[in-house]
Subunit: 535 residues, 2 copies
């Protein structure tokens, strides 16, 4: 079985060959008008990895290791910064031990040992954090990374209530594979779907990517079972409750600082049989986002409502480069979707949108029922590029290209000025530190009260200086997001990387309360210290 | 201006006359076949109210009082137990001081004084708690009740994002009155609407009563401003966020133990113009609840989806007494609702529901657009009785009738056995302690994964022994709810009365974490001690 790459998105078999990378370098040389070469990818055997500062005790025998591969493979998440560092061969701060618990009891054994031995414990689901959420902290304390990939089962399905009890370590595809034979789906599709886990989604408040109405994983949680260093917190399975502050909502978003989600009862859905979708073009970004607002405020709750700015609509969906593209899609297991898409298209047209009637895809009945709709034309082009996006970085790693994304959410009233100031800040810093660059935006999610904009930037850099350039851009972008009233993250989480801006965003007394809660549950302060709050 | 009654639901002018109560007593005598009389209502001037143990300091001059009326009027909430006690003239444990802050600064002054003087502070919105949430605790510490009714303004409306900044003390009708001229509504209608406040809804996780999809007030909260004894916690206005555990979700459901909600940005809606509704009958309770499940799992998100059991459908909607009634209604400001109601009716009919096409009410276009639909026939009868229900108790107070409601939520898979065991437990205890009684049920809310059943019971009691009988029934009902896997409250809150069962329901370590959070925000432990957690 192919192993995960120590540096690339995906498996070792997904790593591009040197020939492919040379080809990419040649293309980039042409594009940027300067010599760009493809340095060789790192090889495990040549890495300098410090000796482990601690060895797994007998209680962890059989499921913990200090092998170099495991330690290297768990040294980083998958942010731009992570891939640059991994590709450069910098594995100076890996975990000392990697444990692969096979059961909840194993998780308890790990936390017991770590609490007693003052070992930092870093929970690890799919390892796709882009915010330094799974990276060992610096400092002298040894670190055990807890890889939950063996907790990968759907344990129970309740078809009557449409809910399933699922282990926290299961990755997206395996989860869906286990629900599919029963006719169900969780239908939560973050871009990291292939390499992110249910538990990871819960503790990072993941946003699904075909999702309005129920956008964040929060909305699908029925109950959670969490192992803390003090013991287990398990909430009741309930469709709704008004009994005090939600215990689940303390765990949701806790990013591993309070405990490890071993199981959750999740609300699942019957697999869609009726589908309808439309890609609607607009003469301008502004016309597009006004239309997106009108559609979402009509509360039709499409399964998908995404807006690409003219730059993204050009590069990802093949449009002319001066038109925005609004993608609206409806899905249902029970109800034909034609009336919904017609209303959405009507609203979008009233807001200036263009679409031929023939381009509205409807698979509601007869031969087309259940067919995958929306995989053709502009919508289909976007969808393919969405799923493949995380692999793109593999090809150009080490070539000095600086490219990343950042995302937020903001209310509609402040959005136009916010967009202007963010774009100004990022274009300005790219000009200063990299001589220029490109910036584009899409709405990955929309709410009645505001969009969740997702910005992508790319700038030419210099091999070896990428992180310096990247840091300057990240700083300017994050400063602009916070100054403009946005959230430092709508679905990427906080981790270690977003801490300075999160600290500005969250109410100081809330941080004090959270710290007190953590102290109660994790008295030794072993769980992910430095993530979200300082000890 | 009419004042609030010290014992009845509503104003002093809503108190029934002695003649009306005598008439009610005669009716009850006939019904129960024994002599029932109507004792006189309590009169403020004759009450024995203990002298205040503390006087308001200079910092509270001008907005705090120790007058008997104010102390008596704030001694209780509006539970069955409260009305029995108040009607009997028992005002032995009122607050010592009632403060009516006119501003956030006044709230801060009260908490500063209370923290320094070891005075218990009880936040009070509309005073409609049915769980002992606004009642002073026993014990020696003096008590100030903080009546927030002067914080009653909609401060700001953002029509673009559809959100409004609203003070925490505003009651339902005044809130809607201030939004209406702008074409907006919060559209959150708990049964206590007339005498409950925005801040109260937030801290009790109130459930709106024409609400599927967005059921609890939680879903409409964009940001909250809370005054704690340590200072102010204010979250950012955001349509969505993934930045750590939600600060708002710590306050939502906190029942006044962490601080006082002075303002919140709430998501509002355009006032509906398109409406459709249907009252669908079923041959049995089981057929009705299977249909309710099918409708909600189709995710059409009706504005209303309520189910009355045969008993309630008989008494509240005039049906035969052996049919269940499902009320489904749709509303929208933007989109005609006919396709939605047609689909819902189709699903309900497939599940055995009966409704004539002519009885489906649709006001989508032309002369009928915007007309109030659903106020006729069975639906209309139910709606009137819903709004008037809280006044019913006024008439029979003091006559020995024991009647109350309890509510929960439970997943669909466990629902049939749950219903059976709850009904058995309550019928059994009523037989034992009162010689019999009636019990009925409705679904006030439904979720894809389960219903929120709302039970009403009535038993003949004896004047003076009502509370003993009531306690036995309440105990048996609550025990059955918790043993059957339900929540002790879906929307009534925990307060002091639900504590024993809440303690069984909530994870013990969560209680410890919450206690630590409270200690951080309220170091002197003045805010609502004994509600939700012990100090």
């Amino acid at each position: 079985m192919a192993r995960r790459s120590i540096w690339a998105w995906g498996l070792e078999t997904d790593e591009p060959s040197q020939a492919e990378r040379d080809e990419a370098a040649a293309r980039l040389s042409k594009r940027f008008g300067r010599e760009i070469s493809a340095p060789p990818a790192p090889v495990l055997e040549s890495l300098v990895i410090p000796a482990p500062r601690v060895l797994p005790p007998a209680s962890l025998a059989g499921f913990a290791t200090t092998a170099s591969y495991d330690r290297a493979a768990h040294a980083y998440g998958k942010s731009y910064r992570d891939i640059v560092r991994a590709f450069s061969g910098d594995f100076s701060n890996p975990p000392d031990v990697v444990a692969y618990p096979r059961s909840e009891d194993d998780v308890i054994s790990i936390l017991d040992w770590a609490s007693g031995a003052d070992v930092v414990a870093v929970p690890y689901g799919g390892g796709s954090s882009v915010v330094g959420g799974v990276e060992p902290p610096g400092g002298g304390r040894p670190v055990v990374t807890i890889d939950l990939s063996n907790l990968n089962q759907v344990l129970e399905i309740d078809p009557v209530s449409r809910a399933a009890r699922i282990q926290g370590g299961v990755l997206g595809p395996a989860l869906e594979d286990q629900l599919r034979p029963h006719g169900f789906t969780l239908r939560h599709f973050p871009q990291s779907f292939e390499y992110s886990s249910l538990g990871g989604w819960i503790v990072t408040r993941s946003g699904g990517h075909y999702a309005t109405n129920h956008t964040h994983i929060d909305d699908f949680v029925e109950s959670i079972r969490t192992v803390t260093p003090r013991g287990i917190i398990e909430s009741r399975r309930l469709p709704g409750s008004g009994a005090g502050p939600s215990p689940d909502r303390m765990v949701i978003g806790s990013e591993g600082i309070l405990g490890i989600v071993t199981e959750a009862w999740m609300r699942i859905q019957a697999r869609p049989r009726f589908r309808a979708s439309a890609g609607i073009t607009f003469a301008s970004w502004k016309a597009g986002y006004e239309a997106a607002r009108a559609v979402v405020q009509a509360k039709l709750w499409p399964a998908n409502c995404r807006l690409l700015d003219p730059t993204e609509a050009g590069s990802a969906a093949g449009l002319s480069g001066d038109q925005a593209l609004l993608i609206v899609a409806f899905e249902s297991a029970e109800v034909p979707q034609e009336p919904f898409i017609r209303q959405a298209v009507r609203i979008a047209r009233e807001a200036g949108g263009q679409i031929d009637d023939a381009a509205i895809r409807i698979a509601d009945e007869g031969a087309h029922a259940g067919e995958e709709v929306g995989r053709e034309g502009a919508v289909g082009a976007w969808r393919n590029s969405f799923v493949r996006a995380p692999y793109q970085r593999n090809l150009t790693a080490g070539m000095g290209i600086v490219g990343d994304t950042f995302e937020t959410a903001i209310t509609w009233d402040r959005w136009p000025a916010f967009d202007e100031s963010v774009r100004h800040a990022v274009m300005d810093v790219m000009k200063r530190v990299a001589g220029g660059g490109t910036l584009s935006c899409r709405f990955t999610h929309v709410y009645t009260d505001g969009p969740a904009p997702y910005y992508s930037f790319q700038a030419p850099g210099t091999p070896g200086a990428e992180l310096e350039i990247w840091s300057a851009i990240k700083q300017a972008a994050s400063d602009a997001v916070i100054a403009g009233g946005g959230t430092i993250t709508h679905h990427h989480a906080v981790g270690r990387d977003h801490r300075p801006w999160y600290d500005e965003q969250r109410p100081p007394l809330f941080a004090e309360a959270l710290r007190a809660a953590k102290k109660t549950l994790d008295p030794a302060g072993i769980l992910n210290p430095g993530v979200l709050i300082d000890p």
